[in-house]
């Protein structure tokens, strides 16, 4: 695959130009013929309501259980049909067209091994890759980086964590790089140059870190073939921050010599009150997510065909609607696989049903697919990590959870 060269900005000149990331981290180059896979784990924090994101409109229990917030195949804002049984939320237009183009797969009634209802612990399990909460020393994406065997394309120089502090999923012994959209007024390049010069003389470790941070920002703001600064005019609040983060991550993953494994998180999915149906609070969030995925695709450019984005959340929400027109913490939910490398146009589900007797603990969608089987399937077939490593170092104790097959294009 051929990459566009990165344009030289003033900052490039002041940083010495050349390789995007400091030489110590320039990866062994993959051979010209080989793929250069990208993997992004997008975490929706707060607990996504899978029954509204991908509605089982063919289940007779759905409309009965969900009442006012149920989506419908008809009406003003009809849900977007997938396979006759499941339909996407009407705000997920980009995902719908990706589904039609064979670039999106839905996994439903899935859950991590976590079975309680605390956000903190649920996110820790989702990110640590361990079966139980309490392990916060490293995340599975970091350990996955280390588990990619030699002879396979190198997964970039470092693992990318988007945000002002590294999320658990990327933390660990493998090198990481952080990038976050900033709302602060940016200092003049001249100040940056003077400080870098000072660090070079007095404190090279600070200089190396600052250089990497500025280069990452530079890639995001000055990537070839883009509009430069991330375009978010007319957007506000959540939409804007989702699109900014998605764009930044995509540009970094698209760049030559940049990271290849990344995680980013969107907040605010804890819809206890006034969740809404085709319109409303969750609909607004889903609209932002949809725009974010669209901007990821456009900013990844040719790298899109080598990309898998996994959209996941710590747990789902109750099947019943509560007294505040929202839903409470539940268990199983939906996950999406999106990207040019995904064998799409499929809904993978062993549907448990929404009848009262079919619910988990009488209240939640019952989990029938362990999310780790999806993670493991993608890790094995996209990055070439052997099953043995996946069951030992990446998802310890998951021997019984077999990787899902055929999630990716052959």
């Amino acid at each position: 695959m051929i990459y566009s060269p990165i344009s030289f900005s003033r900052r490039d000149v002041l940083l010495g130009g050349g390789a995007l990331f400091t030489s110590a981290f320039v990866p062994r180059l993959a051979s010209a013929e080989s793929r250069d896979p990208r993997l992004i784990v997008l975490i929706l924090r707060g607990g996504l309501d899978g029954l509204s994101a991908v509605a089982p409109i063919g289940d007779p229990g759905y409309a009965r259980q969900r009442q006012d917030i149920a989506l419908s195949a008809s009406g003003n804002s009809p849900a977007l049909q997938l396979d006759g049984f499941f339909a996407l939320h009407p705000k997920l237009k980009t995902l719908s067209s990706m589904y039609a183009a064979g670039e999106m797969t839905v996994v439903h009634a899935t859950a991590s091994p976590y079975r309680e209802r605390s956000h903190f612990d649920g996110q820790d399990v989702l990110e640590s890759g361990y079966e139980r909460p309490g392990r916060v020393d490293s995340g599975w994406l970091n350990r996955l980086f280390a588990a990619v065997p030699s002879g396979r394309p190198v997964p970039g120089p470092r693992v990318l964590g988007v945000g002002s502090s590294a999320p658990l999923i990327v933390r660990g012994p493998a090198p990481i790089i952080g990038w976050a959209p900033t709302t602060l007024r940016q200092p003049h390049d001249d100040l940056t140059a003077r400080v870098l010069d000072l660090y070079r003389h007095l404190d090279p470790p600070l200089g190396d870190a600052l250089t990497a941070g500025i280069k990452a920002a530079d890639v995001v703001e000055n990537a070839e073939g883009t509009m430069g600064k991330v375009q978010t005019e007319g957007m506000h609040g959540n939409d804007k921050s989702m699109v900014e983060m998605a764009t930044g991550a995509a540009r970094l993953l698209a760049s030559s010599g940049g990271p290849r494994l990344a995680s980013l998180s969107f907040n605010g999915w804890d819809t206890h009150a006034r969740e809404g149906g085709a319109e409303g609070r969750l609909a607004n969030l889903l609209g932002g997510l949809d725009q974010a995925i669209a901007s990821m695709k456009s900013n990844l450019g040719p790298a899109w065909s080598d990309t898998v984005i996994m959209i996941v959340t710590e747990f789902g929400r109750t099947v019943h609607v509560n007294g505040s027109y929202g839903t409470d913490h539940g268990t199983a939910t939906v996950a999406f696989l999106v990207g040019g490398a995904v064998a799409g146009k499929r809904v993978i589900a062993d549907w448990p049903g929404l009848g009262s007797a079919q619910l988990y603990e009488g209240r939640d969608l019952k989990p029938t697919i362990d999310l780790r089987s999806v993670f493991k399937g993608v890790a094995r077939d996209h990055l070439g990590v052997p099953e043995s490593a996946l069951s030992s170092s990446v998802f310890p104790g998951s021997d019984a959870i077999r990787p899902k097959r055929d999630l990716l294009k052959a």
Binding site: R45, G46, H119, F120, Q123, D124, G134, V136, S164, S165, A166, P167, L168, I177, G178, W179, A180, T182, L184, R185, Q186, P187, H188, L191, T192, R194, V195, D197, L198, Y199, H201, L202, D203, P205, L206, A209, L210, A212, G213, A216, A217, H236, G237, N238, K240, S241, S265, F266, N267, G268, D270, H272, A273, R274, G280, R281, N284, G323, S324, Y325
Partner: protein, 478 residues
């Protein structure tokens, strides 16, 4: 003068160490003041009565804050139920702050009063930092608050009580006994809620046999792993389980009789029986059983060693010198966890002053140091915004283990970039009142390198000069 470690070439100086390594940074004039007796300046803080206490009109106690939060929640739910299809979500959302864990309960669509309580606490904390003579006592407050970490991001009830937790459970004991701080922390509603002890029920208690619900080991596990012995401190899963049973019933009062929002022992949830922790049997009745375990944990040699290691790692270096750790651990043991004496042992040990500055100031220290250097202050929302951008939103670490405390963690690519951004922001606000050429002497004079001095002298504006001072390794490291 020392050669730098790991490529850093900053020199050591005792006055600067007193203010930067052990304090919150110099205000103009502080360096001259401490110069004669740097150790004495720190000792003076230990000796000053009530130095760590913080009170200010308008700050709410834990039970008051919980009452406000709960009433607001009830009110909100009523309002939502009455008007299910209120518009304006997008606007409400964009006004609400970005969240660390994406949880809506806490600050959703402008639970204004909860957020205001939190902001008032952040402001009060920074006012205390500004007022401190050296800031050694405040640094210790922050250290202990991070050792006994809770997270304001867990929900509204944590958000509103995070500051009160520090004022009520940490501050009174910073120069008191470790055992007292431990007990105050583990019986504080914030810690009980943060680590779920309020939902833990003894399986054989009156409530447990009726409801069939069970134990939650969270608080017990963290008491052993994070608060006292440390992960390699010599306990096992059976000890965790036993301690979890012993502290069943430690919860928060919900009744209107004054117990509401305060620590309460609920005997109906308490697991009956004698339980063994670290091979010792505890047969006490009720709440005393758990208090007896905590008292023993507080004087355990593993606890002394764990606390000593963390203190030295925090103040001196990522790789804590073994002799200094042993010295502090010995002091801890010999004085039955007298924290004034342990703190004194730290600052009176030459080994704590000798190593060159290799630690990187944490974001909250860095911001305090910039504000002290320029005699400036920020409003609550700005403080929180800057600290969040720097990766250290107050009282909101990623987990019960607190914010990482190593230079390696804070020297990150995005972190260094953001530090420069923030330096520039503060410099522009302060340039009217601060002259960088004067400040370089007043703040880092004795250790200011030729390179830093000439970079500041060559700056094209006062703001740029100030930003270079803040970004300089002599200011970032301690």
């Amino acid at each position: 003068m020392m050669a730098g470690l790991e490529g850093s070439m900053i020199h050591s100086d005792k006055s600067v160490h007193a203010l930067q390594r052990f304090g919150l940074g110099a205000r103009p004039g502080d360096l001259d003041r401490v110069q004669r007796d740097p150790v004495g300046a720190l000792q003076a803080e230990i000796n000053r009565p009530r130095v760590t206490l913080l009170s200010k009109p308008g700050l709410l106690s834990t039970s008051e804050a919980l009452k406000v939060a709960d009433e607001y929640q009830v009110e909100r739910r009523k309002r939502l139920a009455a008007e299910p299809n209120l518009a304006g979500d997008a606007a409400a959302m964009s006004a609400s702050p970005r969240r660390d864990k994406g949880i809506m309960d806490d600050q959703q669509s402008g639970t204004v009063s909860s957020r205001e309580i939190y902001l008032d606490e952040v402001v009060a904390r920074y006012e205390a930092a500004q007022k401190a003579e050296c800031g050694f006592a405040e640094r210790l407050v922050w250290f202990w608050s991070n050792h006994f970490a809770i997270s304001a991001a867990k929900g509204a009830r944590l958000l509103v009580t995070a500051g009160a937790f520090e004022r009520e459970a940490i501050r009174p004991h910073v120069f008191g006994r470790f055992a007292d701080m431990l007990l105050a922390v583990e019986q504080h509603p914030s810690m009980i809620m943060f680590l779920d002890n309020n939902i833990s029920i003894g399986p054989n208690s009156a409530a447990g046999s009726r409801r069939g619900r069970g134990l939650n080991e969270n608080l017990a596990r963290e008491i052993l792993e994070l608060h006292t012995l440390g992960v390699n401190g010599g306990y096992n899963q059976a000890d965790v389980l036993a301690l979890a049973k012993i502290i069943t019933g430690w919860t928060i009062g919900e009744k209107q009789d004054g117990s509401r929002g305060a620590f309460t022992f609920n005997p109906h949830r308490h697991e009956p029986g004698v339980h063994k922790v670290l091979a010792r049997s505890y047969a006490q009745a009720g709440v005393q059983q758990g208090q007896a375990v905590l008292a023993d944990l507080a004087r355990h040699p593993s606890t002394a060693r764990f606390i000593a290691t963390k203190l030295v790692r925090h103040f001196v270096g990522d790789e804590p010198p073994a002799d200094l750790v042993a010295h502090l651990a010995k002091t801890f043991e010999a004085t039955d966890g007298n924290l004034a004496k342990v703190s004194r042992a730290l600052i009176e040990a030459p080994a704590a002053w000798e190593p060159p500055p290799t630690k990187l100031r944490s974001p909250q220290e860095l911001l305090a140091a910039m504000l002290r250097a320029t005699n400036s202050s920020l409003e609550g929302p700005q403080l929180v915004r800057l600290l969040m951008t720097l990766g250290q939103r107050p009282w909101s670490p990623g987990g019960p283990d607190g914010f990482p405390d190593t230079a390696a963690y804070w020297t990150s690519a995005s972190g260094m970039r953001t530090r420069l951004d923030v330096a520039s922001v503060i410099a522009q606000r302060a340039e009217a009142n601060s002259d960088p050429a004067t400040l370089v002497d007043q703040i880092i004079g004795p250790i200011a390198s030729r390179e830093t001095r000439s970079a500041i002298a060559a700056a094209d504006s006062r703001a740029q000069g100030l930003a270079i001072l803040f970004a300089a390794p002599e200011f970032q490291r301690r």
